[in-house]
């Protein structure tokens, strides 16, 4: 079966939630949402899915809970039974992430969203990132604004619940499971080379132990193609 890059990515995003159990999955953006729903439909049936607004919903859209923003910030995030998948305009080798602004914070070259919930998310519970275009602009030596906290800063601040889990991109899957918590490749998507990753990353990124990202199972492919994304909107975010 001919599996597209976008389908490999959706499978990898689903894998982020493996073993999470009945915690709140907060995927930000279309592909992470597909991933969370795929995990929910296959190997993580107890995962709680947020609709991105005030409700917890089953995969068929049935409301099963109320989770307005106030409850999210005062209860769900500090309580810690949550796994967020955020985007990142910049990320560095220690997992520091920026969605706030590019350049000098006092007068930025480009104002982005602001830190949003990134500091609280990374201080409180498992956090992963989805970066659709793996490039030197995104994978930088040092982020301009630390919005999401990386391992070096978490250690200094004594954050005992800090858990930056994985980074998924259009090229591969990465984690921080090295002795120094620097980023390394877990797997590269089929057809992607270590040279390609190195050329798209500003810092040294160890790909020596990387496997090939597995394809989704036949059943998962059926769910992606027929149930979750029949219009193939996934291909717009990750071209073949």
């Amino acid at each position: 079966m001919n599996v597209s890059r976008a389908e490999i990515v959706v499978g990898a995003l689903a894998e982020l939630f493996r073993g999470d159990g009945p915690i709140v999955a907060s995927p930000i953006g279309f592909l992470p949402t597909l991933g969370a729903r795929l995990a929910r439909l296959t190997f993580e049936p107890d995962l709680l899915l947020s609709d991105g607004e005030a409700y917890l919903v089953d995969v068929d859209g049935e409301i099963e809970g109320w989770q307005p923003y106030r409850k999210m910030l005062e209860v769900i995030v500090p309580h810690g039974r949550r796994h967020v998948v955020m985007g990142a305009s910049q990320i560095d080798r220690w997992g520091n992430q920026n969605i706030s602004a590019i350049g000098d914070h006092a007068r930025p070259a480009k104002q982005l969203l602001g830190v949003r919930g990134a500091p609280g998310n990374t201080a409180n519970h498992r956090t992963s990132y989805w970066i659709p275009r793996h490039s030197k602009r995104a994978f930088v030596d040092a982020v301009d604004v630390v919005s999401g906290v990386g391992y070096d800063n978490a250690a200094k601040a004594g954050l005992r619940f800090h858990d930056v889990y994985r980074v998924v991109t259009n090229l591969g899957v990465f984690d921080f499971a090295t002795p120094s918590h620097s980023m390394r490749a877990v797997s590269l998507h089929p057809g992607v080379t270590a040279e390609e990753v190195a050329a798209a990353t500003s810092f040294e990124l160890d790909c020596s132990g990387a496997s090939v990202t597995p394809e989704p199972t036949a059943e998962q492919l059926r769910l992606i193609r027929e149930v979750l994304d029949p219009k193939s909107l996934r291909d717009k975010e990750v071209p073949a």
Binding site: G117, G120, N153
Partner: protein
Amino acid sequence: MTDKRMTADEVAAEISDGMTIGIGGWGSRRKPMALVRALLRTPVKDLTVVSYGGPDVGLLCAAGKVARVVFGFVTLDSVPLDPWFGRAREAGQIAVTEYDEGMFCAALSAAAQRLPFLPTRAGLGSDVPRFSPELRTVRSPYDDEEELLAVPALNVDVSLVHLNRVDSRGNAQYLGPDPYFDDLFCLAAKKSFVSAEKVVATADLTAAGPVQTLLLNRGMVDGVVEAPRGAHFTTAVPDYGRDERFQRHYVACAKDLDRWPGFVDRFLSGDERTYLSEVDRFELEAA
């Protein structure tokens, strides 16, 4: 019983130069836009704006009324960034206090509870404390001795919020899925003003929704404004959703300094009645 009904212009007149104003809602959702538009018609300036920011922040920046924004984000939801907020930041025209979303909530809660601060983990290790060097940490007096961020109370002079229903005394109700933080904004402020889609009899409040939807009691509210479509172009579900087409028009004009004066002339230079009739005309033209 005190009848607190007043006009949007009377609310705007309560706000003076240099004040700290809290604005309810979230992003491009249930923002008190009619009250913001009334504020745009006054000469007031040098405001510190406290907001889960959306087009309220953008419009006040466009009018040059903002000295500082206290925020966790500024977004139009369906459009990620507000062009006017971006322009004001990139031109160095405004100062900011940038908080994590949860820190922001803790800061309002501290003010609401008359506490000097509340402890939180959110913000530690990030650049938030670096950009706000006045922030302090606090150490747990118990055996864990954990060091936490002491988020200072965010006291506000005047808060503006928009709900779905209110009675003439200030008991107010949201009918959508999320109350946002409008009660905290009111409790954190010296004076609070609520606009609503409709002013109804007190008895009608519990007829329209369960008692849990009564977010504000009259002790938290100083003035009531009837403002149908008063959250336009943001959402006020179930009364109406976001006017996406109009929001895109705002963004297109805000991005283009040649088009912006035309937007101001047409939509923001008259009163609220003129605004709504121009919005209706815009809708017909686009249809």
